[in-house]
Amino acid sequence: MVYTTVATQEKAHDGAIWSLAWSANDLVVSGGLDGKVKAWGWTGSKLEPRVAFDGHALSVVSVAINPAGTVAASSSMDGTIALWDLQTLAPASRGVIDADAMQCWTVAFSSNGESIATGGEKGNISVFDVATGNKHDGFEPRGKFSLSVAYSPNGRFVACGAQDGIVHIFDVEQNKLMHKLEAHAMPVRALAFSPDSALLLTGSDDALIKLHDVEHGNNLYTFSGHASWITSLAFSPNGVHFSSSSIDKKVKVWDISTHETLHTFDTHDDQVWAIAYNRTGDRMASAANNGKIHVYECS
């Protein structure tokens, strides 16, 4: 395996970047403290600025791109979710969804790209229709603030990680709780389903990453190696590796079956908050609190 930093974008944002997404057609979308959502084109050697959307009154907490790569969603501290058309590079016709204060934190697209889910402060998951912006039936409140939300790639499950370390897995079809995992005792900020939807990774402020069997809800392994909060997790598209970022300023690449740390990127000089693989899994981007984006080769 080769692990090198192939591009660095300084001052990608004015201040911290907290979220990244990499679309199927090589657009990288970023959001952070300055409240802007930016789209970058990956040329193969660098990130080219394409557009900077300005539609939130407060910082952008998370961004997500639908599987087709046509729509981006961003959630903000101001309690709004904005949709952006990545083809025209303009605000989507549906515009801004007002999710109410503390009713959105991170956003996730469903596998069919038709709806977006976000976690609320009462542990609930709200679901909105991408086309209309209407609110669907969400998932019932289950305790503490849902900091992280993830749909499984097969569309069957949605998982959310809470402030108190509990991870809930719901069956989307039946709108029913499948598992309540007492995975951690500290906030769970990062979740990632494996490409085959069989495994779920959870990352917490306890610096641990746990691997769970989605079907049975049991803990398979605990990865340790970061010195502090886990901020983001991403499975490589082949499902063999995954990456993690932490406020310990490091990005680590792991082997899911041998449990080894394959590589540690130590090139950021500030907290790393977001990581995203490209479609083929040979590139990965990470973004830090000082506004820098790094792109790595990992093949």
Binding site: L33, S59, D100, F145, Q163, A185, S224, D270
Partner: protein
Amino acid sequence: MQAPAPTSIEIPLRGSNEVLEIEFAELPDLGDLLGILKQEKARLRIWLVLAIQYYNQKMPEACSQLLTAASDAASTEPEYADAIQDRLSILNALGAFYLQQAVEERDRETREALLQKATSQFNRADTLDVHGTLNMVGKGMLFLLRNNYERAATQFRYVTAQNPAHIPALMGQACAAYNLKQFKEALGLYRRVLRINPTGSAAIVRYGIGVCLFKLKDLERAQLAFKRVLELVPDHLEACVALATIEFNTGVDKEASATEMLTGRSAATVANLAPAQISEQASILQQAAVASVTSGMQLLQQAYKISSEENRDNAMLLNHLSNYFFSYRELDKSANLALSALHRSDVDEIKAISCYLIGRKHHAAEDYDQAFQFYYQANRLWDSFALPQFGLGQLYIKKGDIAKAAEYLEKVLVKFPDNYEASKILGSLYVTSQYSNKRQRAQQLLHKITVAQPKDVEAWIELAQLQEQTDFAAALEAYETAARLLLEADIKIAPEILNNIATLRHKLGQLDKAQDMNAAAAADVDQQIRDEEQNEMVDAQNLRSLNGLKVTIRYNRARLLEDMNNPADAEVIYRELIQEHPTLIDCYLRLAAIAKNQGRIAAAAEWVREVFAIQPHNPDAWCFVGNMHLSRYEWNLAQNKFEMLLKNNGKTNKVDPYPLIALGNIFQQSAQPVSVPKAQMDKSYVRAAEFFTKALQEDSRNIYAANGLACVMAENGFVKEAEDVFLKVRETTSESADVWTNLGHLYSSYDYTRSVKMYTNCLRKFHNDKDLDVLMHLARVHYQFKKFDACKSVLQQAFHLHPHETVIRYHLALCEEAFAEHTFAQETLHPRDVTHAIASLQVAHKIYDNLSKYPKSSRLGFTPARAAQSASRVADMLAQSAQVMRRAEAQEAERQRKAQEHEVLRKNLMERKAADEAVRQSKIAEEHARLALIAETHRKRADEAFAEFQANASAAAAAAASKKSSRGRKADTAMDDFVDDEEDSRPKKGRRSKDSGSSDESEEDAASTPSSSQGEDGGDGETAPKASKEERKRRREARKKEKRSRDKADKKSRQKRRRDDGSLEAEPRKAAREADSSDEDKGKSSSSSSRVPKRVFKSKELISDSDDDQPSSSVFRRDEDDDQDDDANTAAAPASTATFTTKARRAVESDDE
């Protein structure tokens, strides 16, 4: 010698010419002789001669009787009355005889009686002739024997002054000088004797010279002198012993310098020698040393032979012999010889040596009590004799009295500062001392040893052990030097050392290397354990200690894993260790710490309970529980725990400063809330100060205690003093986050930049930019200084890090609202700023509205009712915002109109300028043409033309002058016209100077509220030139007023800067408290317990810094604002008194071994 000695003497017989000849060879019976002498009234000189003969023929009794009889006869018989000289001779001879007897007498009483007799003889002699030389010499001798050397010297000097060649007196004087340690003088006197009489009693004189030279350290010549003595008197015992002593000393010296060469100590001499040469020279020296010792031995044997004839009563010889036998391990023989030496000597130093030798025998025979007694006596007899002191040091170590041992060893070092053994033992003793000055001394000693003997592995290891506590890097270096030396010597490095190296590397953050070392140590121990178990005779004790070491190494590995971010594997090891050794408390505590770090509070509590089951009073566990309570703000419970800890502490002698600091912190914090009555507050501060002071008494270098005390000082107005302490603490350690925070608090009242710098550094250095408290402090200082953008940015960062902390959102809303208010209150409004402000109000409203729906709870950091109030207030503001927007738009329109006017004006100006320029150009052309014409005319009509030209020119000049004189200025070129035109559009001079005054003021304003300056400057720049006088004045007034109100808000905090006005401090604080309570009355909530003022930043109460590097350390701090301005209509920021945070740490986890 004198003339040939007569062999007989004649006694004249009375009344005849006949004589009775007495052959000395056949001395008659004393009774017969006395009869003859008395009867014949023989001259006293004859009596004397005969007495000497008896003496020489070893009949001292006869001699003394004869002399006594002579003395009696002299004083009774009238015949002798005039023979004064003879009588003197008799008395002096008798005195000398008694002296001689006294010298030889060992029995103290008899000896004293003899000395008395001698004294009475000399006294009688004195009555005959007070200046008699002989009796003076005799008395001198007497003083010598009574060890009164000063007076003896006086007597002898008197005699030698009269008779410089008086040999007995010279000898006596030399002896006195020697004993007075005036060796040079003594040497001179002996040499004088030798010059006067080269042959007479040469042996004694040369012996004297020898000992003087010996004392003067001229060993070679001393040796020559002693050899000469032996040539003269082959059985001269003292000379023989002295020669042996010199040989032994030479041998020792040579051996030492050979060692020096080989160990590389004498770098100077070795520098230019090849190793082969060094070893060659060293071996030559060693051979010489052996030769010396051998010849010393021979001399000793010779002395032994001689002495057997004299009944062996030379104590020095006996001591030497004792030493000799000791070295051949014939201990009893050695001790017996020393004992008889002890009995035979009355010189304290020699007796001390004998005692030492006896003591040493007992020491070797492991009879420590006896050994101690003899060493002790030796030391008492001769207090600068190092050997018994060294022995006493060793014995005190055996007894376990380290202080005494150290005392004696220090005595040895006073005499021999470079003594290796004493330095090393003393160093070892001090290594484990609880006193830092002793440890420093140990370090000094050991460092000296490692410099002198760079290959002394033990010293390196001890030095390393010493530095382990203070200087990890130095300790590591010392250990690695030791390891390298062992490796060079092909000796296996003990796993203990490997383990220590691993631990030090761990502490220095070299985790990978530490892991390697730890693994090596573990492998080593495992191997040793296997080897030991395979032994036929298993050494159970060794096996036990090996297993103990194994546990330590495994524990250290677990600690290392924890720091390598692998708590899971660490946990496995801790659990295994507990399985094997259920009483390993540290493992339980580490498991508790790991659980706490991962937020598993219940599990942590469970592990601590396990500790209490084993050790109900384990202080670390109590601390852990106390800190858990603190982190959950359960003050009373925490206080209970720490008080308990203190109580348990009191049972042991050593007081742990930790609970003291913790209690100090608790009391300090309980004094902070605004709701605390003044009296109770003061009481709490006093108690806090007491605890901190006590902690400082226990440990004067405790930075946490110093920090805590400084907090109390700062809270009570001694700001400058507190700052001094904080700065000093920061100098001392770079590891205390609190001190940065506290400095941030101190500066927050008056120095924005520094305060921000302190908080930012603190975040970056200690909290990985995520500590909520410090972020909130930082946000507050931005807010206070109206840096709303910066404040919002910090709050949003905090919000992102801690989304569930409602207090952040509350403050974010506050900040948005204040920003909007501030914007609306501006004189100059811009629609885009108003748009921003309206957006801010909308965000604020949304947040307030959300927060107002929370159930009331002390954890929120605000009251929902207040949030509801704020929400409706913001709603009102939003309602008014349209009006503000209209005003802004009107202003904007006015500005644009003015801009257009200005543009028109500018255009006109340009046009006029262009026109003027055209006029000027045409004038110039005209002038040129005219001049050309004049020149032409001049050429043609020189005389008249000149006059005409003059007239024309003066006319032109007059015209120009008249044009400019209306402005009172002299101008010659058209360029000046342009400048003048410009000036016309400017304000007049007088107004300008006034203006500059006001602009200074606005600059000041800008400095105090930099955030507002950006918005204002543009507008002012454009409108100022057009503003009427009245309008300017009005605006100036308004601005001053605004400034005053701002100043007022800051006044209280600014007062803190007055250093020596501590008393003032109480006033603003009190006023603030009153203001607060009145605020409470005004508000709906009449409950005085509400600690949340309306518009004040208040830091949140809960902390979740799970990621702290030292997991079991506690962070307890609380925040409070006691000075606020609740006037909703002013945009002034609430000035809040900085609060101070303190922190105590406990190294539950840092004690690795």
